[in-house]
Amino acid sequence: MFMLSAFMPAANASEAAATASTAVPDAAAPATKAIFPPAPKLTEADYPSIKGVNARVVVWLVAQLHLWFGAFVVAVPMFVFIIEAIGMATREQRYDKMAYEFIKVTITAYSLTALLGGLLSFCLILFYPDLFQYLALIFKESMFAYALLFFAESAVLYIYYYGWHWLQGGNKKWVHLTLGLLLNAFGLLLMFLANAWTTFMMSPAALDAAGVFNGDTWAAIHNFLWNPINLHRTVANVAYGGSIVGAYAAFKFLSAKNKEERAHYDWMGYNANFIAIGALLPLPFAGYYLTAEMYAYSQQMGITLMGGVFAWIFIIQAVLIGALFLSANYYLWCGMGRSEGAHRYNHWIKYIAVVLVVSFLVWFTPHTLVLTNSELKDLGGPYHKYLGVLGIMPAKNTAVNFLILFTYLSFMFYRRSNKFVTVSWAKVGNAAQVALFVAGSINITILGVYHGYFTNTVIKIAASIPQVLTTLVIIIVSVIIDALMYKGAKDVAPLRWGRMPPRSQYALFLLAVSFTWLMGLMGYVRSGIRQHWHVYNMFRDGSPDAFTPGLDYVANIVSIGTIIFMAMVIFVFWLSTVSGKHVVSKGYWKEQQA
């Protein structure tokens, strides 16, 4: 954070600026600070156009592609660092090899991220010059820092990657690991800076009624939604990065020529899925935090998001997240086939599947429906007699907590399937875990039912925090019990890596594609919630594309973006495959004389 601290003036001044950093007009700004122009009032004529090119669609697609690749290249070094550290701690070289393979995929993706970032800047300057100028004046220091950080990150990444086999053993390995840490620090700082520009447009800070900026750089960066987005994007990026390298491993598994290769990529796929799911579990909580902060910033924005024209998007989101959970669980269940002791847990899988499917169905049950008059008459009102009660937020909160809990249960069974417990208190430990799950599930249900159906609308979502805490307590306590109970446990038999049906690998592809589409959709929501504003409530979008598009239009753009991205990702996978091939072309080169 040392770069950011450079923008921070004396603590008091900074705090004062931050206090003033709301969208509330600040007419009392000192005249000496008014060196920034007011927010321009633009008309359609102020937006340059190129015949046959829709500026918004171009910027939308380029920005989204940049974000997808950016998310991937920020995330992968995080778990590469952890995997490398695990390798150093356990001295098992397979971890080091896997970490190297992950970073190898990142190298090409990094170049594409930079290219797309440059293209995005050009598009913004070309199609939205006034907006770019307005933001560039406010963020000039942070944009300059961004460029410097980008050079620093590139340098560290190349040393980290190309020096991998050079910096091996002893202190050299520590130097390499430190480079990994630096790489992550630079990557995250870059993301946080870019997040500040984005969130400033949603929750502008230190602006007066005319949109004149009267704060310092830190006040603009540290706007209301900056931290919630930082947290949400960091967690989401890890989950996303895991899913993309999972797809890479699945692709390599399906193309494997021998048992060893299949075993290696099966193991890699398992780890990638573990990373994706590990980060996916806390993601809904980060999402709730972000949404709650949006409400806190502007109730108007919050209600438009959850109860206005964007509300149906959350039903689609539920379907997509449901697909993520189901595919991740399916992969885990298939993975139990690697173990000889899995038969002890197999009969539980069908019950877990039922809970997951029911939770999924509850999650995507809509509350209010858009109906014709005759449909309304047939239904007897806007809500379905039985299913209407499942549409409200507490029911969905309850469902998502069960999705998370039972996914964890799948993972716990997977971990246990190849172990014989040896401690004398195993029965007590198991009983404690069962009690924990049952009591927790009852608590989650009661909280959801009470707040959902016996309180007024304003405090209906009050159940979410205690429900989340219950889920976290169950998982954390259960992990501790399991860790103690299975310490020194014996393996039933060596795990048969590679003993996976090919269909299981498609679960990993489903995970990656669903994640990509989901990110595209939620990226639209985050941006679209500003509606007809470039900078919310301050700088109006005067372009012909200022309207909020319908869902079918959004689905078209997100789908096109996803297909382009997946094509580019396959290109990256192909490059990393061919880079390892060495063809000996006999007779092509002149024989060298000794």
Partner: protein, 184 residues
């Protein structure tokens, strides 16, 4: 190569499924276009038309029904006049309004002057209202539009409409003052 094709087809089918569900499985709502400044013809304005304009703004540009609805986020406004009369007599009220009309105006532009118990921002003990200034940039009602909304609320409550239709002079004055504010 076979696996490559299979993976591509699978990915395309997955994208197609999400696209199809979003395009055909979800009701397509056409979002309202960005609000435009309505040109009010004050010359031919009658009280009936003025109230109708207020009703239109209440449901449309004003975004009032986003919160003032049966969901309980903000007080219902069918009895706004009766509620305002009670509030004006209440010792808890510390505002400057003397009449219902003034109170409705004050509540719209300075909602935190008096917050109806139970409707304040969380953690503020009903001292801060979550409602934005109706004439501020997020809602952006002009003074004439706000007057129309107040007339509508008085009419909705079944009370006498005390709001006067602004004259052409007042309208020009309002526009001038808004212009000079922009230049400051």
């Amino acid at each position: 190569m076979t696996n490559f094709i299979k993976v591509c087809i699978f990915s395309l089918l997955t994208v197609g499924a999400f696209w199809g569900y979003s395009s055909f499985g979800i009701p397509q709502i056409k979002p309202a276009p960005p609000p435009v400044e309505a040109k009010v013809d004050l010359g031919s304005m009658t009280m009936e038309k003025f109230i109708a304009l207020g009703a239109e703004l209440f449901d449309g540009k004003g975004d009032c029904t986003l919160c003032h609805n049966e969901m309980g986020r903000a007080p219902m406004l069918e009895k706004a006049v009766a509620d305002a009369e009670k509030t004006l007599k209440s010792p808890a009220y510390k505002g400057t309004a003397k009449t219902v009309e003034e109170y409705l105006y004050e509540s719209s532009v300075s909602p935190s002057v008096y917050v109806v118990p139970g409707f304040g921002k969380k953690g503020t003990n009903d001292t801060v209202s979550p409602m934005p200034d109706a004439t501020g940039s997020s809602v952006g009602l002009t003074k004439i539009e706000l007057a129309a909304v107040i007339a509508y609320l008085q009419d909705l409550s079944g009370s006498e409409v005390t709001v006067q239709i602004p004259t052409m002079d007042a309208s020009a004055e309002g526009a001038e003052s808004a212009k000079s504010k922009e230049c400051e």
